[in-house]
Each structure stands twice: as C-alpha cells, then as structure tokens.
C-alpha cells in the first residue's frame, strides 16, 4: 500500500500501523510463499516441459523471475503476475469510460488503459429502438446520442489487431450515465465478479464498478428492458421524448438532498477504501457506509484521518474473525 498523505497524529499512526500489520499477518501463508521479487528462483520440476511465460527468464538452467509479483501456474505455463498492473481487459468486462472523440461511425473512449477504446455506432442501440441498418443520417446524429466528455458504461466485445478495445452497449443497462460522480481508483482493486451493476436499495444509489478502475456513483435510474415492450405499441410520443431528453430542462430538477447525501457517502467510502488499498466490492462499501452511519461520522469527516484508522482496524478485526471461524470449521469438519 502506498504511503498515505494524511496528517495522522502519532497515536493514530500507531493504531494504523498495528492494524495493517495484523492484516499482513492474516493473509494466507500460501500467498507469501508464491510471491517473488526480481531474480528470485522459481521452483520448477526440471523433468516437465515448462513453458516460461511473462515475467520469467532462464538463467544458468534455473527459471528466474524478472519482476516482483506472484507466481501463477496454469498447466505447463509458469508466469509472474504483477500486483499493481495496469488494467488488463478481458472479453465480457464491464467498463466505465469517458468519450473523448466523436469519429466517423464510432466513439473513442478513455478508459484508463494504454489505448483508447472504440465504441462502434453499430454496437449501440439507436434512440428509437428499432433494429435497422445505420444510415448516413444516423452518423450525422451521433452527437445527439453521445457527446465529448460524456460518461458511459459498456461491455468489452473484443480486441482489434493493434490491441485497441472494442466495446458494445447494446443492452438497456449500458449507456450514458448522468446525475452522479465518476471516481478513479487503481484498477487492481476491482476484481471481476458476476455482478458489476449494483443498486443500493436502502440508499437509492446506483453503483457501477468498472473493471478498469472507473467507478460510477449516481442516482438510481430505472432500467427498462427493451425486449419486453412491444415495439409496435410504443407511441410516437415516447419515441420523441427519448430523442429530446433535454439536459437544460433537467437542470431545474436537482437531485434530492437525501439521495445526494447517500451518493456522497458512498463516494467517500470508495475513496477511503482505495486510499487504504483494500479491495473495492459492494459488501466492503456497504460495510464502510454502515460503519460511518453508526459512528455518526459526518460525510466530510469520512475523509479525515480518524475514520481511515477506524476502517483499517475494523477490517483487521473482521478478517481475524473470518480466519478464526474457518479454522474452527476445519477443526469441526
């Protein structure tokens, strides 16, 4: 975990160090055995035909690591996975990105990766919902769908030959994100899960954990499934209202204060987790939010030094409980 820029008093520093030490000691021994630094030997059985993957090299007949990380073995492949790597996209990942360019028949998005991702016009639902071939008029109206600096969420469809990502946003749950804030955390803190769209019911807040480290916290938006509504039943009115979602009009209707408070609390919870270097999951976030509410911490004070220390301590406590429970179950079973 990188050095935190927090003004901690001496006492708080001690508490934080103690909590972090406890967390380190609790991480399983397996992990620490598999971690290597540069020029460490990787133990291989020399009889097998081992494939040397990324981060390894052969020296004097030994397989040696060339970077710091964890050794992974998959069948005959041995490679070293760095801990703080850049975002590594895979097909099916949910991504949150920002449009930086409107190009012919495509949008270019910035997604915290070494290259920009591309969202083709054909991979995007048209505003009127009809499935048809994209015409030149559609191309001219691309700006009315997404403009520069818009935030949207999409799914990775594949890779181009030069490593660029192809995205698709064909479902109703993908698309433009409004009324909220975008947070940027290190991508290795967001693991791939089954669900990346979370609706926190009790707060009315939408939480989208993009695998690329962009996290969207915003007002809840009802997602209507297009397949359910019969297209022929849609009146002209509805189609027109889709096309003219005027942002200037919605300026007058600000987010209600209570929802805004929940959004700010959630955002601060994620900021705290990311600075402490903990994994960002819905359970973690909800726990931090509940913790802040039970401790009556003001929303702004969540970013103060005291709360960081408390969160670290609680996490250490929770993990030690989990390990004890696992040990107990092992004993019983």
């Amino acid at each position: 975990m990188r050095g935190i820029q927090l003004s901690l008093s001496k006492h708080q520093n001690l508490r934080l160090d103690r909590a972090l030490e406890q967390l380190e000691s609790l991480s399983s021994k397996e992990n620490s055995d598999a971690s290597v630094t540069v020029a460490d030997d990787i133990s291989v059985n020399n009889e097998d035909a081992i494939l040397k993957g990324h981060g390894t090299t052969e020296m004097d007949g030994r397989v040696v690591a060339t970077m710091c990380g964890v050794v992974e073995r998959v069948n005959k492949l041995v490679y070293v996975r760095a801990l703080r790597a850049r975002y590594k996209p895979e097909i099916g990942d949910i991504i949150v990105g920002r449009v930086i360019e409107v190009a012919p028949k495509r949008w270019r998005l910035e997604i915290n990766f070494s290259q920009d991702a591309v969202l083709m016009l054909s991979s995007m639902n048209l505003p009127d919902g009809i499935q048809r071939r994209r015409t030149a008029v559609d191309e001219l109206n691309m700006r009315s769908v997404f403009e520069e600096n818009d935030v949207l969420c999409a799914e990775v469809r594949g890779f181009q030959h030069d490593g660029c990502l192809h995205l698709q946003a064909r479902s109703q749950k993908y698309g433009k994100l409004k009324s909220g804030q975008l947070l940027s955390v290190p991508p290795y803190l967001v693991k791939k899960r089954k669900q990346h769209f979370h609706h926190l019911d009790q707060y009315g807040v939408d939480l989208i954990l993009g695998c690329n480290g962009f996290i969207w916290v915003g007002e809840h938006v009802e997602v209507r499934d297009d397949m359910v509504d019969d297209l022929s039943n849609k009146s002209e009115e509805q189609i027109k209202s889709w096309n003219t979602i005027n942002d200037e009009e919605s300026e007058e209707t600000y987010t209600p204060l209570e929802t805004r408070q929940h959004i700010c609390r959630t955002a601060n919870a994620i900021r705290v987790l990311s600075t402490l270097g903990f994994m960002i999951t819905v359970e973690n976030t909800i726990e931090v939010i509940n913790l802040s509410i039970t401790l009556n911490v003001g929303i702004h004070e969540m970013l103060g030094a005291e709360f960081y220390v408390v969160v670290a301590e609680k996490e250490a406590e929770r993990r030690s409980l989990v390990t004890k429970r696992d040990d107990y179950q092992d004993l019983v079973a």
Partner: protein, 265 residues
Amino acid sequence: MVGLSVGEKNFIKGGIAQDLRTDGRKRLAYRPIHVETGVIPQASGSARVTIGATIVIASVKAELGKPHPSHPDKGKVSIFVDCSSTAEPTFEGRGSEELTAELSSALQICLLGGKSGAGAGIDLSSLSIIEGKVCWDLYIDGLVLSSDGNMLDALGAAVKAALSNTAIPKVQVSAEASADEQPEVDVGRHYIVDATLEEESQMSSAVSVSVNRHGRICGLTKRGGAGLCPSTIMDMISVAKHVSEQLINELDSVIAAAEAFDDDS
C-alpha cells in the same frame, strides 16, 4: 483540465446549490491542510503544504542586498511561482506561463500590498539592517507539484509556513496574511471556498481576498471573465473575513505542530 459531462456538471451545480459538494463538504468548508516545514535544507526556510491532492512547496532564501533608493528603510521581497509539469502535462515548457504570472502577481499583491507598501502582509521595514546601505533581500519561490484546485490558498499557506520557518537574525516577520479564495458558480449566485479541480473548471469567476491577522484586507483579486454584482463581492468579502479567521487559527496550529515535529526529528 478534466472534462466533465453535462450530467456531472449538473450534479456539481446541484450539490453547490444544496450545500453538499461532491466530497460531502459544505460550501465554506476547507479540505484538511497538511504542512511540513524544513523540507529544503539549503534554503533559509521552506514548507510543503498539501490540501487534498494539491501539493505545493515554498522556499525562502535570504541574502544581503542594497535597498532601493526610493525606499531606503525597507528590504526587498520578490515572489516567483513555478508550475511543475508533473502537475499537468499542459504545464510543460511555456504552457504554464499565464497561470504562473497570475499566481505570482496575486501573491505579490497579497503579501506586499500596494506601491507604498501600505497594508502589506510582510512588514518590509523590519528587513532593513542599515538604512540606505544594507538590507535583507528575500527571494520566495513557490513550486506547484500537483494540482487539484485552489493552488492560490495552498501557495499562500506554504509561503506563510516557509516564512515562519525562516531563521534570519533580528527579523520579525509580522502581521502574516493568509489568502482566501472564493470561486463563484454561476447558477443561483452561490459561492464556495477551496474548490477542487472539477469545481474550478466550472466556475465563471473567482475572488481572492487576502486578510491579515487583525482582520484587515491586504489584497483583493478578481479572476475570470464573468461580471459580478458589487453586492455579491461585498458578501464574499465579509464571508472571506469570517472564514479566514478559522483558517488562520488552523494554519497556526498546523504550522506549530509541524515545527514541533521538525524539532523532534
């Protein structure tokens, strides 16, 4: 500078209107300020100030020099600000010239006052050693390492901390000033203190008020293209005086703590 979508801008404006900004602060609340002194051992005094993600370093070098003929009983102070390209890629080379000129002149106005030196933050006559012959020349340099909005306040606090860290024989640097900034957002005529980078990209104009310990105004700068109603400016000035009281107290305690820490280590 970060680009924001219409929805995000709306969200920020709504937050400011409802007195709940994106990180939960009220309109007139500051982010926590972290000060370290004595970071540059070769300088006479130095300090590093962190407000949120904005990091600035100020250093003071004192040299003996000849006073200006028209002001034989006053020392000389020159302030210069540099924005490092680590803060923003656009700051490389000559990209930051406009910004540094603006920051330098704002700091000069706050700390040195008008032509006659009246109402300044630094008492220049305390820098004189032998009238007409020898005086102290103070060179104050500011360096912006990382920018997340509100660089002017961070620089002001850093200069103040650096000056209090400076040890020059027989010089008392009196009546320290601290600068307050209140950028105004167009919608609803609300103003906020200590803006983050996103909020700053939204604002139409900003007023920086420099207030000294006795509650007097040392300097006033207005930046930005939009026009402001005079009554709004008067409002902002009175709010600035109120906020700066708290800020001066906080800064004093933080600087004292930093010096104590420095002495310990």
